[in-house]
């Protein structure tokens, strides 16, 4: 083979250097402002504008680069202003922020409840699919107040780095079932399929006057937990319900958990801690840990005049407290009675919630339209059937099947009568 002159080799490798550095898309990490949360709100004066809020993380906080001196820089910077969308806002922000705005590590989109309930909300949401840097698996959450107020009030005492804070609190909330999994990609999918409802995370920094509406400690949502202490004012609890790309209502923690248990699509939480009425003593409640191990079984029957759904929910349950001090270890009958009573309680709660979705929302957030899709051969047939129209009319029956697992570390409790003797 012909020898390649050494000069050509050098030139060739120099050329490689320019190409391999990423051409014109080369970026210096030091020169970027990393937006971790984008907030969107209606502009009061101009309906073609949105109020964009940025939470910019300081990458040096919490890393080794900070050095031993402690570093004086704050963990984040926030800025809110009006722009025509959150893509052009990137350059506008640079009138204040010194570094180039990047969405590379963007993990959360926050929208105000007011904006989410707007019919034009979806137009701005679809900007996400255009922007090359934004991923589809980022979280969507709805705030009761204006995002600019939210980011100012949100002052976590620990985990001050915004990327860490949101990741931790959302993961924890999803593990305990207090907030739904809320990916933007799923929002698009459900909106486009035009059959089910989408659940978004609901949060606020404002305390509501409406503390714990009734006896049930789980019937509340963000802002309604009354607490004291020196900590953050932000609460994430419950869900925002979206129908056809528009927010229509909010769900409490309990309803969010029921949605989890009935859902075919949501990733199940680790375990739900729920207090249920004690069948042996009306005045007490039994704390239980429940989780769904297997998939929910859904039978859709379209053959009959009135289409029906029958769902079987397999639940594993552990008993955590027993204030009634009923002897469950010794008597099998007691355990059976407990199981039956809990199954009935859950059935009733499921059915009440389903009725609410049928009457108020006209669709459901459980992904059940997927089960109905299996009954059709072709998409035109399914579209003809029109899930959103049929669902409110359907007969829905739920069969909860509880599998009692364990009764705590010490199963036997002293007899109340003997103690007080």
């Amino acid at each position: 083979m012909r020898k390649i002159p050494i000069i050509a080799k050098i030139l060739g490798s120099l050329l490689c250097v320019t190409i391999l550095s990423g051409c014109w898309d080369q970026k210096e990490t030091e020169e970027l402002a990393y937006v971790t949360v984008v907030g969107l709100d209606k502009d009061e004066e101009n309906e073609n504008m949105v109020k964009v809020t940025y939470v910019i993380a300081n990458p040096e906080v919490g890393s080794l680069a900070e050095g031993g001196g402690g570093g004086g820089e704050p963990p984040l910077e926030t800025i809110s202003f009006s722009a025509s969308d959150f893509i052009t806002s990137r350059s506008l922000a640079n009138t204040v922020i010194s570094k180039e705005i990047t969405y590379d590590v963007l993990r959360n989109i926050m929208v105000s409840e007011d904006f989410a309930r707007d019919k034009d909300f979806i137009r701005w949401m679809y900007d996400i699919t255009k922007e090359m840097e934004i991923r589809r698996d980022i979280n969507l959450f709805v705030t009761k107040e204006d995002p600019s107020a939210f980011v100012q009030n949100n002052q976590p005492k620990m985990d001050t780095g915004p990327h860490k804070y949101y990741e931790l609190i959302f993961n924890r909330g999803q593990d305990t079932g207090t907030i739904p999994p809320s990916e933007v990609g799923q929002f698009f999918r459900i909106t486009e399929a035009d059959a089910d409802l989408f659940l978004g995370i609901y949060g606020t920094t404002e305390k509501s006057d409406n503390y714990k509406r009734d006896r049930d400690p789980d019937q509340f949502m963000a802002g309604e937990l009354n607490y004291e202490g020196q900590t953050n004012t932000t609460q994430f609890a419950g869900s925002a319900v979206f129908k056809e790309g528009k927010m229509i209502d909010t769900l409490t923690i309990e309803e969010t958990r029921l949605s989890y248990l009935l859902s075919t699509t949501m990733k199940q939480p680790e375990a739900l801690l729920v207090a249920l009425p004690d069948p042996f003593h009306e005045e007490y409640e039994v704390a239980t840990k429940i989780y769904r191990e297997k998939d929910i079984q859904i039978n859709v029957n379209l053959k009959r005049d009135k289409p029906s759904i029958h769902a079987t929910v397999p639940i594993k349950m552990s008993i955590l407290t027993n204030h009634g001090m009923t002897n469950l270890a010794k008597y099998r009958d007691n355990r059976e009675k407990l199981k039956k009573a809990f199954e009935e309680t859950l059935n009733k709660e499921f059915e009440e919630f389903i009725k609410k979705t049928q009457e108020e929302y006209g669709s459901e957030p459980f992904g059940w339209s997927l089960a109905a899709r299996k009954k059709f051969r072709t998409i035109p047939e399914f579209e003809e059937f029109d899930w959103m129209k049929t669902y409110p009319e359907m007969d829905v029956s739920i069969d909860t099947q509880i599998d009692l697992e364990n009764f705590g570390r010490q199963t036997d409790l002293p007899k109340m009568k003997e103690v007080r003797d």
């Binding site: 190409i19 990423g22 051409c23 014109w24 898309d25 590379d104 090359m132 991923r135 589809r136 698996d137 990609g185 698009f188 999918r189 486009e192 399929a193 075919t264 699509t265 992904g367 997927l370 089960a371 899709r373 299996k374 059709f376 051969r377 072709t378 998409i379 035109p380 047939e381 399914f382």
Partner: protein, 362 residues
């Protein structure tokens, strides 16, 4: 280098064939199929594959019959001097346009999904430049590089698909027949040109060690490519559902952006380099076959010298279409529908002629 001096073996040939077809799962071919087949898009490669078995079988039979002959001479022999030239010339034109449109698509993928700020011209030039260099090295080199990197690329593709399926929901595959059984069969038939690359690979059969290897390699590559296409399209439906899948331009690249492993989020940076290597190899092969055919047609012995001229021409032609995401997509779709009958009927015609002539000689 001119004509290949050494012949390539079974492994190299299979890898080459797989690069040509298997990688189609990652460009806009799935988008094309989803467009008309909705969530039954994954049946497209399977049904058109079943249809493609016949022309493939006939091509392989012809190759077996004329083992000693050159593939180009077979065309002249069967179709006569003028018709043969004409058919080969049309094949060359089709192949050339195919490269232009395909390179435009691939550089558009890089431009829209990964490097939005770099001028399209630069990305395109690098793609064409690297591929032209690969083609210039000759078939043996392309073959050994293909085989050397193929296992890694296949492994990463499968890895991406498994992750995608894990994130997905099998409920999205229903209603199983999408727009309707007839629609599925009709549209799949129209897109049988996915496998047209085998017609071009047929031209290379004299440079594979033996016809037996050629046959074996073709079938292995065919079934693996079919599997790759079908399974990746299943995974796209499972992660996006059909409505979203239909509106995506490049589903593979959206999918690798949506998947995560635990705390590792931006996985596309891992999959992208592998995909780039596959792309460069694919176009090196395309270039080589096309220029080889051109050289044979016009009796140019050292056809590698026209590679730079070709590369430049392709580059400028490919840059012409405005907003390539749409225009090239439609051209490719249209072009694919024209090529489908060609791919189906040309081998039948050749085979019938071969048999008629064979009988006459007896």
């Amino acid at each position: 280098m001119g004509e290949p001096k050494d012949k390539i073996g079974l492994k190299e040939y299979t890898a080459i064939a797989l690069f040509l077809i298997g990688i189609k799962a990652t460009d806009d071919v799935p988008a094309m199929l989803f467009d008309s087949l909705k969530n039954a898009g994954w049946m497209g490669p399977i049904i058109s594959g079943l249809i493609a078995i016949l022309p493939l079988f006939l091509l392989l039979d012809i190759a077996k019959k004329y083992q000693s002959k050159n593939s180009i001479d077979i065309f002249y022999h069967l179709l006569g001097k003028y018709v043969g030239f004409f058919v080969l010339f049309l094949l060359w034109v089709a192949g050339f346009l195919y490269i232009v449109l395909d390179t435009a698509t691939y550089s558009d993928i890089v431009a829209t999904m990964y490097f939005p700020r770099t001028p399209a011209f630069v990305l395109y030039a690098i793609l064409v430049g690297v591929s032209a260099y690969g083609a210039k090295r000759g078939l043996e080199h392309i073959g050994s590089v293909s085989w050397a990197v193929f296992p890694y690329l296949q492994a990463t593709l499968l890895f991406a698909i498994i992750l995608t399926i894990r994130h997905g929901n099998s409920g999205f595959l229903f209603p199983i027949f999408g727009p309707g059984e007839w629609e599925v069969i009709k549209e799949s038939t129209m897109s049988v040109s996915i496998y047209i690359d085998f017609l071009y690979l047929f031209l290379l059969f004299p440079y594979v060690k033996s016809v037996k290897d050629f046959k074996k390699g073709t079938w292995i590559a065919f079934f693996i490519a079919l599997f790759n296409l079908a399974i990746s399209m299943v995974s796209f439906v499972m992660i996006f559902d059909y409505n979203t899948a239909m509106s995506l331009n490049y589903p593979y690249h959206e999918a690798i952006r949506s998947i995560t492993i635990g705390f590792l989020t931006n996985l596309e940076t891992f999959f992208f380099p592998f995909w780039l290597i596959a792309t460069d190899i694919k176009f090196a092969i395309y270039f080589y076959i096309n220029i080889f055919l051109f050289g044979k047609l016009f009796k140019i012995e050292h056809f590698e010298y026209i590679i730079p001229a070709f590369a430049t021409l392709i580059l400028f032609l490919g840059l012409i279409p405005e907003s390539p995401t749409f225009s090239v997509f439609h051209m490719r779709h249209f072009f694919g529908q024209i090529l489908s009958p060609v791919f189906f009927f040309l081998p039948i015609l050749l085979w019938v002629l071969a048999n008629v002539k064979g009988e006459m000689r007896k």
